[in-house]
Amino acid sequence: MSRYRVAVHIVPRRGLLDPQGKAVADALHSLGFNGVRDVRVGRHLVIDADAPEPQSAERVVRDMCAKLLANPVTEDFEIANVEQA
């Protein structure tokens, strides 16, 4: 067993309203960041977990996302990174 650090992104599904992203984009505009076209706000989770090898760490985290971490109705997830912790 080794310890792996797996980073996950959970983002609001495209097409659904993202009020938080919109509020942040508006705020950035009013601060003068005029180049901003779109902002999406999601969650970034870093999970330290024991697993025999990186592939299985990733597999387990995918399972966690499907079961708990992401809301299947409104969110998508992706594994951003897997590294030895």
């Binding site: 009020p19 938080q20 509020a23 942040v24 705020a27 009013s30 706000v41």
Partner: protein, 230 residues
């Protein structure tokens, strides 16, 4: 005395504060708009409760960039009194008027109840009409009220007598189970070093008449009046 209450988009206790000042205290109230560039000669600025800009990103983070906040900071720099209540406390921290930050409640749940706080010092212009150690019943209603700062800041606050209100239990003791949001050292309200900016999570303006459950908040505003001697 002239109190200015700022309305940010998403403020929802601006009216409560305004009515407490005008209806209950009989003082002059001025409604200030977040896009204003002028405090219109008010003596005290109130940053009210609510969810400015939806509290998206972080509570108070976006509101602090409102045009009026520049005037509020200037007013505070001149020594003018500012009261940040709930979302107003969050805005004041984000704006750097007060140290620390207010994070998501430790329970991860919004908490609404009539809490108890103890008056830790009466030596401020916001608390001089209370008795030392007096226990107040004040409503709280927030999702992000966990006061957080580094140890050095906390020690400094304690040493300088900047902690004005602390959550306590029915016996008047600090107790983790009486701390509704997991605030460090049970802190419910603080003043800045100069003593002219108060931030607190409980709502004194919602405790201005016994008919709605408590009138313990009135003396906070009366403390300001006593100072100026109106």
């Amino acid at each position: 005395m002239k109190f200015g209450v700022i309305t940010f988009p998403g403020s929802n206790s601006d009216e409560d504060a305004f009515l407490a000042i005008t209806d209950v205290l009989g003082q002059e109230g001025v409604k200030l708009w977040h896009k204003d560039h002028d405090l219109r000669g008010v003596d005290v600025v109130i940053l009210p409760g609510g969810f400015s800009y939806g509290d998206y990103l972080r509570a108070g983070a976006i509101a602090r960039f409102s045009p009026i906040m520049r005037e509020v900071v200037a007013h505070a720099d001149r020594g003018g009194p500012v009261v940040g209540i709930c979302n107003g406390f969050q805005i004041a921290c984000e704006a750097g008027l007060l140290p620390g930050a207010l994070l998501r409640n430790a329970s991860l749940q919004f908490v609404s109840e009539l809490c108890r706080v103890r008056v830790e010092t009466t030596e401020t212009r916001f608390s001089n009409q209370y008795a030392p150690g007096q226990i107040l019943r004040l409503p709280i209603a927030h999702g992000d009220g966990r006061y957080t700062a580094d140890d050095a800041t906390l020690d400094r606050l304690e040493q300088n007598g900047q902690v004005v209100f602390r959550y306590v239990n029915a016996k008047g003791e600090t107790d983790p189970s009486a701390d509704p949001n997991g605030s460090m050292r049970g802190i419910a309200g603080i003043v800045n070093e100069r003593g002219n900016v108060l931030g607190l999570m409980p709502h004194p303006e919602r405790a201005a008449e016994a008919i709605v459950g408590s009138a313990d908040g009135v003396a906070l505003f009366e403390s300001l009046l006593a100072q100026v001697g109106v």
